[in-house]
Symmetry: C2
Amino acid sequence: MPDTALEPRAAYIEALEIMRTASDLGAASALLGWDQETYMPPAAAAARADQLSTLSAVTHSIVTSDRAVCLAEFFRDNLRHLNGELSDWEKRIARVFTRDVLRAIRLPETFVRRKTQVTALAQEAWKQARQQASFALFRDHLAQIIELAIEEAELRGYQDHRYNALLDLYEPGLTVGTLDPVFRRLEQATIEILRFVRDAGHVPDDSILKQHFPGQAQLAAAQSIIAQMGFDFSAGRVDLSAHPFCTSFAIADVRLTTRINERDLRSCLFGLIHEAGHGLYEQGMRSDLERTFARDGASMGIHESQSLFWENIIARSEEFWHWALPILRAYFPEQLSDVSPQAMYAAINRVEPSHYRIESDEVTYNLHIILRYRLEKAMLEGTLTADDIPHVWNALTEELLGLTVHNDAQGCLQDIHWSFGGIGYFPSYTLGKLYAAMLRSALLRAMPDAPDHVRRGDFSPIRQWLREVVHQWGRTMEPSELISAATGQPLSEEPFVAYVWEKVKRVYGQE
Amino acid sequence: MPDTALEPRAAYIEALEIMRTASDLGAASALLGWDQETYMPPAAAAARADQLSTLSAVTHSIVTSDRAVCLAEFFRDNLRHLNGELSDWEKRIARVFTRDVLRAIRLPETFVRRKTQVTALAQEAWKQARQQASFALFRDHLAQIIELAIEEAELRGYQDHRYNALLDLYEPGLTVGTLDPVFRRLEQATIEILRFVRDAGHVPDDSILKQHFPGQAQLAAAQSIIAQMGFDFSAGRVDLSAHPFCTSFAIADVRLTTRINERDLRSCLFGLIHEAGHGLYEQGMRSDLERTFARDGASMGIHESQSLFWENIIARSEEFWHWALPILRAYFPEQLSDVSPQAMYAAINRVEPSHYRIESDEVTYNLHIILRYRLEKAMLEGTLTADDIPHVWNALTEELLGLTVHNDAQGCLQDIHWSFGGIGYFPSYTLGKLYAAMLRSALLRAMPDAPDHVRRGDFSPIRQWLREVVHQWGRTMEPSELISAATGQPLSEEPFVAYVWEKVKRVYGQE
């Protein structure tokens, strides 16, 4: 029973206390996770799994305590009627609290435990299956995961389409109804762009990127570039890990990781710029979001828009290389002696369909997402079973990318996401690209000389603008509200399509 | 009310569950602490303090929950009567659980909060005071800390002497009645040894230690030596920090830190051997102590005995340098070209009174501890006030070490311990030295050729023996039980005094 006798300010202060405890435990979990990927000795893996699972259980019990639920129900029922008792900002934070608590009690503990068990086994099986390129090893696990996803959607509730329940986990408020037409138009435009690229009949030379670049120099160069972007090293740091990521334990404690490939200039550099884009978001939040549930990205897609904004919009622009090339040349004088900004721009913007999502360029990447999106919707509709997946995957790869899949390791086993139960996650990647391009258009309207700033390496006006329209808000706005306020329009593929056309025309000539 | 209706095995399993949760939270706290000293960006300090304090509050609430107390009271009242329901080993673990839970509820929360506040301010004040060599800045804080210590002793309860309540926190079961005569005889013997050293009329040359030794080589050499000692790098690692320490998050996750002084070979090498001694203890515990309260050293003194055993007994022996010198020479060929094991042995065993505890040699170190022990006992007796401390400190330094204190920074402000409320802690350091020497005597009886193993760098029989008699037990034995079982005698200064006489006679000649 919601407690209608609560005093609003006292309730808010109590909610803040619960958020502080849960956030601090969450920070400890995040540190355990960061350490696991960076410094943890190998023999500690089993103990670390226990520690992470205990932290998560204790946090869950705090967020779903009777008192937390009582406060959340009070806010759910009364927040819109409160006037004067709480500021607008406090109401926004209370709304995030309410959302998280009520979401946390939606799934029965038996279901959560079952999902944890199934996905733990599925992840192990997936590793084996991918290594041996044998879908058979993963099939039964995937079948269970599809069943669980259907069950989870039913438990969480949805309108119109079951998949909406899962989309909402990563992109609050987004529905199939909104996404379908956007993805349809994006697919169509992408296919036209690819036809243009193919017809251009020439392929930019990217051999300059594939020389030998010593690791220490790569790391130093990339760090100096993200420092110039504005990543604050007094409130963050960079370490190495097998898979790059960004995590944060506080606004003043943001950790990035990167990896180095001495035979490819892109891996460390663009990887670290990408993570620093996430990092600037985390460092740029309003300080009074600290230790609340609102200290996080508005959504996966919005978070990804920040990393992609810096990685693609900024660092894959020609202007950027007018500034960055002399800097990199100081680290790699021989390798980069004869390279012009134009040649670098062409090399890093080569478009080429690949079997692998993570090796894809800006243009073909979205086709990988659209493929997965179609499969996931069908899984949730119950019209696609685990058995169907390999051949449907392969047929779609042929249709969308024009590539033949030779084995399931380069096909439906390439991604880890389904094995951890992350159905609904993939669209975030493309949303990130679309949001980033929408933000680019808005920036160019608000600051027409932004490209000149980039050419001089003066990123602070751009970073300030992003902070203003995106970073500071954390989760206090839903993604659709945030993106409309920042860009003046709702989710659209148009700015992205225009941006990509502009790029491929410059790189592949004949306007 | 203790629940006498509990079923012993069910109660034990429930206690294990509570210990697992609390241990995992404790591991997360320890990681937050490790990270703070090694990699944390500076701006994160305030957020980290919040996180540590939340983790500690949540852990405390689990350990002092009604159910935990109920189980502890059941074990307290019934453990000795249980036969067959629990194994002897399980009873030992249940005893540690009982002890910790009942200890945790002894202090009222208001007292704990007050102590936290007072010591937080006192630590800041102490830093200022030491920097400015001004006791006046610390005086009021110290007065409050002495009051708190008296109050805490009364709350915890004791027999015979109030100080016993505090000693028991670090060295369970130890009393002033046991310690007084041991320290008296130790003081007497130390003064005789110092007279012998002074009369010898010569001072070993330690200039070989004070050449330039590049940092990376120092670290590599020290790591190769602790690997040979048996520190398992697959279940541990080494990082740098301002103050060296050892911490562990699991038996399979033991972290050491060290620091490097490029103008002194001792700092990194002996520091890391010391921490590795702690680390071998942590890595050597029985695996079924994992995630119980018994996975820790038997006491501060026993833990310190393990670090000092390796640092002093082993690595400050002449035999060690027969093996280690060629290894170090590979890293420092020029610096160590003309050095013999004998010269190294003399250089690292020079005896010289110092104002500073942490700069002291094996012989004079204990006089610093005896000085603090005398002061702390008098504080608890109420016969020594904060105002008295500087002049009493200085008089005792003159009496015991023959040194004049020129300012309080080299006198009573030199140690951090009182500022964090750690009255009762200092004796552990000397206990570590005495236990280490007792273990040395026992080892030589059990394994007369141990010095030959050291001379060959074959440390595994010695490590195995320590594991057998000390490491594996964790906290399942109280220190007095452990040391008696391991050495066949109760706490005694005799082995230490004999060991030191032997050393100074070798180093300072004429035997």
